[in-house]
């Protein structure tokens, strides 16, 4: 790999060390001492950092799709999300599985109905059900979302393009260190006979945060070939 860096930039190279945050110093010291004492390895740390950045919402999509086709599973999932997750291989308690110990907590699945629409937020920081949804989207961590969703949920949902009828109650669930939530959207019409995999494809991240509804022609990775509704 070349170390040449002779192309133009419209900014000056960094010449001086940035201002140092003492908490960054503390974090680095704790991590390096932990490694020196054999509490974990640098490789462990790299792996967990990579894991946190690479997991996606696949687990959540599978949970919802399975619940849509298996009413008994749905009841188990709604009664105890933490335990029911194990049925698709997500163990919130086992750090060697797809769970992560920092998410060792209670997981609740919130069912949308014709009368109630759920959505999740974390007003304190950015708590999020990582084992089933991956890393939170950037907007989830913004003050715009966190501050306003609990006060004016319909307004914020409308900004996402989700306009709910006034008769639908909107419930906002505030996550915290001990409780994580995920929304189970309603199965859309036009999906009769679909396989779990087909269904999982339309259960996108945003539908499980509660800022969108599943659409039969939209998946997380593919838009319809032409518009299906007016703008």
């Amino acid at each position: 790999m070349s170390s040449d860096h002779d192309h133009d930039h419209d900014h000056a190279p960094i010449q001086e060390a940035p201002e140092i945050d003492e908490f960054e110093v503390l974090e680095t010291a704790v991590r390096e001492l932990s490694i020196e004492h054999g509490l974990f390895s640098a490789e462990d740390h790299r792996r967990f950092s990579e894991w946190a950045q690479s997991i996606g919402p696949t687990g959540g999509s599978r949970l919802v799709a399975k619940a849509w086709v298996d009413s008994e599973f749905k009841q188990r999932l709604l009664a105890d999300g933490t335990t029911a997750s194990e049925e698709i291989g997500i163990d919130w308690h086992d750090p060697t599985g797809t769970g992560t110990p920092s998410d060792y907590t209670y997981f609740y699945v919130l069912e949308n109905t014709p009368e109630v629409h759920n959505t999740i937020v974390c007003t304190l920081c950015s708590c999020y059900p990582r084992p089933v949804l991956g890393m939170s989207p950037e907007w989830y961590r913004t003050p715009h979302y966190r501050r306003r969703m609990v006060r004016w949920p319909r307004e914020v949902l409308a900004e996402f393009g989700l306009h709910l009828p006034p008769e639908v109650e909107v419930r906002v669930h505030d996550s915290n260190q001990k409780s994580r939530f995920m929304v189970m959207p309603m199965r859309p019409e036009g999906t009769d006979g679909w396989s779990e995999d087909q269904l999982a494809a339309i259960v996108t991240r945003d539908t499980m945060i509660g800022v969108a509804l599943p659409q039969v022609s939209w998946t997380a990775s593919a838009a319809p070939s032409e518009p299906t509704s007016s703008a």
Partner: protein, 110 residues
């Protein structure tokens, strides 16, 4: 978990990048890379059995309302993990202080 004050942590709080404490953390700041790294450190400590994540979270709740009530929320995982590791004698205040000096010198080197 002890209610000990550790001078090395008090010094970090005094010099740390703190925001005024007004009940809620500063809402418009993006997490720093070191905070993401600390998350992985907490994951590793729990995974290897050195410091259970739920135990640390409960300590964060408790110490966050007492000893570290004036410290920024985003720094509490770091403070509390260090606090608990010192409580257990896994690391000593002196070696933490020495390591912090070493890290600081490294970061200050332009």
């Amino acid at each position: 978990m002890s209610a000990n004050r550790y001078e090395v942590l008090d010094a970090a709080i005094d010099q740390g990048d703190s925001e005024p404490v007004s009940g809620l953390p500063q809402l418009d700041r993006p997490p720093s890379p070191w905070e993401t790294s600390m998350q992985a450190t907490c994951d590793c400590l729990s995974w290897r059995g050195a410091l259970d994540a739920l135990e640390r979270r409960q300590a964060e709740d408790e110490l966050g309302e007492t000893l570290y009530a004036e410290s920024p929320v985003h720094a509490r995982s770091t403070l509390v993990a260090a606090h608990l590791l010192m409580d257990r004698g896994v690391i000593t205040p002196d070696e933490l202080q020495a390591k912090m000096a070493e890290v600081r010198a490294r970061l200050e080197k332009a």
